[in-house]
């Protein structure tokens, strides 16, 4: 299934990313993500291989993944779930996307009094540590706080090129 237009817009609005997985042995793992974007029905997520080493290992084991994106200005929060995640591609090619998403996120947090330098701690990975994960969302859930959190959100069918 593919993301709806408002979900795609949310990805570039300055969201915080959290990426979760679970090993075959039943160890849940989670790390911060640094960028996400929609790519022809699939979701691309960039994480650091250093802080996210356990998440990468869990994904390599079974392909199961949960990615949460939350916009600080209104706490709008959506989770995307997949079971075909693959770790593919790393390096400086992802830096422009990471920088763009970091800047949007930083602008979100400034209005809450969090200094611009603060988020550097979360985005300090070197180019060679930027790793891409791709998966097809099979489910999206609303995670905005309050009653109804956890409810499924509609995705749209993937449109293949003719």
């Amino acid at each position: 299934m593919a993301l709806t237009e408002d979900m795609i817009q949310l990805l570039s609005a300055g969201v915080a990313h959290q990426v979760g997985g679970c090993t075959n042995a039943g160890r849940p793992v989670v790390c911060r993500g640094m960028a996400a974007q929609h790519e022809a029905g699939r979701l691309l997520v960039i994480i650091s291989s250093e802080s996210g080493f356990e998440v990468l290992e869990a994904i390599r084991q079974n392909g199961n993944i949960a990615v949460n994106v939350t916009l600080p200005e209104n706490y709008r929060s959506v989770s995307f779930i997949g079971n075909d995640a693959v770790v593919r591609g790393s390096g400086a090619a992802w830096r422009p996307l990471v920088n763009e998403r970091h800047e949007a996120f930083r602008q979100q947090l400034i209005r809450y009094g969090i200094p611009p330098g603060y988020t550097n701690a979360w985005y300090s990975a070197a180019d060679e540590q930027l790793v891409a994960i791709r998966f097809t969302p099979m489910l999206a859930r609303n995670q905005t706080p309050g009653p109804g959190a956890g409810e499924a959100l509609a995705l749209k069918p993937i449109e293949f090129e003719k």
């Binding site: 979360w122 995670q143 309050g146």
Partner: protein, 454 residues
């Protein structure tokens, strides 16, 4: 199985990461290993090996935890950007007891502050055992800011000064001055409980445009009212963050905002845009006598250490307040009636009382109500009837018409509140100390008294 912590890490050492400035993240999974990631509203330290997470809604996370009992939790340091990753195991859900009450009070305090009482309902405190805690690797951490004061040393200094106070007025001044000078807390309110009315009356404040002595709120209202009702401290360190979180939940629930339950005639002091607030109950002899409320224009101004320090100092203040009543053998006999010493001139002052709640108005301006209102009515009545100007605390305590709840209601505190209100109004009536356990009523104008049953 013993817990595995990275060197130098302890749960108590990462309490500030549980504040919610940067919301903690919970990762659970279903039996078929499908993960779910969500943010938490509250995380609470329980003991060196356990934490409690708030259970408000039955959602995917909870369903997963009940099925697999395991979760991962990450928390970020609000000062340095560093973080820790925990492996936790669900133990049980508590629906009563101190941990539940602490979580509920925090949740309700925050919820009440943002008009979210009906949405933020705590169903339980989920207790987790911490199996593992490690630093999140690869973070370029900032240097943590230095604490604004040496809290332990300065708290001890203030405690010693309070211990040297001989009367209530001196004690309150010392306490409020000490908060400003020793602890650099510039905005303070001191509230008293009125158990019979389930209300709180503002005894004194510092650092506001209006003093507000005598203003009232209901027990359970806002941070102060909730701290008193639950008997635990409540701290909000990042108002903007919580406001946004609460607004999101309110939008989801389509709830309307709350209105103040008491429309006080006296304007409440308060910062227009506070960034940090802390309410601490004043506890003595197993009862909550009131609350200390402090706030700041800065984010994260009050941490756990402030909470610890203010709990200790407020406890000392509460015990001292409840003890600062003259013992019976120290109290002199009632003072004999005397004619008025000073001439009364000018138009008659209209003193009106409403019997229902003992609210008293001076020339149609609200002054005070409750026990303090009843005291003023009795004193002025005696003065008008007999010309008496001096009274003892003891005779007031024994006066059946005042119906003082018990000795812990603390007559001295009510008198001090009345004295402050009269002084603030700059009225023709004043109340002065006339020695230990005695007071003097000063009235500059003739008085017409009027009582209404309605």
């Amino acid at each position: 199985m013993s817990a595995v912590f990275d060197d130098g890490l302890s749960l108590i050492g990462v309490r500030r990461m549980m504040e919610g400035v940067i919301p903690p993240v919970l990762c659970t999974f279903s039996k078929d290993r499908i993960p779910n990631v969500s943010y938490l509203s509250l995380c609470e330290y329980v003991d060196p090996l356990h934490i409690a997470l708030s259970y408000q809604f039955f959602n995917r996370s909870r369903e997963n935890v009940l099925a697999t009992r395991r979760a991962a939790l990450t928390m970020d340091d609000p000062y340095t950007g560093g973080g820790v990753a925990l492996q936790i195991e669900y133990q049980r859900t508590e629906t009563e007891g101190p941990v539940f009450e602490r979580l509920r009070a925090k949740l309700m305090g925050v919820a009440s502050h943002h008009g979210m009482d009906k949405v933020f309902h705590l169903r339980g405190a989920d207790i987790y055992r911490v199996l593992e805690m490690r630093r999140v690797p690869g973070r370029k951490e900032l240097t943590a800011a230095q604490p604004r004061v040496d809290l332990p040393t300065n708290s001890r200094l203030l405690s010693e000064r309070m211990a040297n106070c001989e009367d209530l007025s001196d004690l309150l001044e010392t306490f409020l001055d000490g908060l400003a000078h020793q602890l650099r807390i510039d905005h303070v309110m001191l509230w008293l409980t009125n158990p019979a009315q389930q209300t709180l009356t503002l005894l004194a404040s510092r650092g506001y445009e209006v003093d507000g002595a005598g203003a009232e709120i209901s027990v359970g209202e806002g941070l102060v009212g909730t701290a008193v009702r639950e008997g635990v401290p409540i701290r909000v360190g990042h108002m903007m963050n919580m406001a946004t979180y609460a607004r999101a939940a309110r939008d989801r629930a389509d709830e309307s905002g709350v209105t103040r339950t008491l429309q006080s005639e006296i304007p409440l002091p308060g910062l227009k845009e506070p960034r940090s607030q802390l309410a601490v109950p004043l506890r003595a002899r197993g009862k909550v006598l009131g609350a200390l409320f402090v706030e700041s224009l800065h984010d994260q101004y009050f941490g756990y250490d402030d909470e610890d320090a203010l709990m200790m100092l407020s406890g000392q203040l509460a015990v001292a307040m409840s003890l600062m009543q003259p013992q019976e053998h120290e109290v002199p006999a009632p003072v004999a009636a005397k004619p008025p010493a000073a001439a009364q001139a000018g138009p008659a002052l209209r003193l009106k009382r409403f019997v229902r709640d003992n609210s008293v108005f001076l020339d149609d301006v609200y002054l005070i109500r409750g026990v303090a209102g009843a005291i003023l009515w009795k004193l002025v009545g005696e003065f008008v009837r007999s010309g008496r100007r001096e009274f003892t605390n003891r005779e007031l305590r024994l006066a059946p018409e005042l119906r003082l709840p018990d000795v812990q209601d603390n007559l001295e505190v009510r008198l001090l509140l009345l004295q402050r209100r009269l002084g603030e109004q700059q009225s023709a009536i004043r109340l002065e100390k006339a020695g230990r356990g005695k007071m003097r009523l000063c009235i500059d104008r003739p008085v017409n008294m009027e009582s209404s049953e309605s």
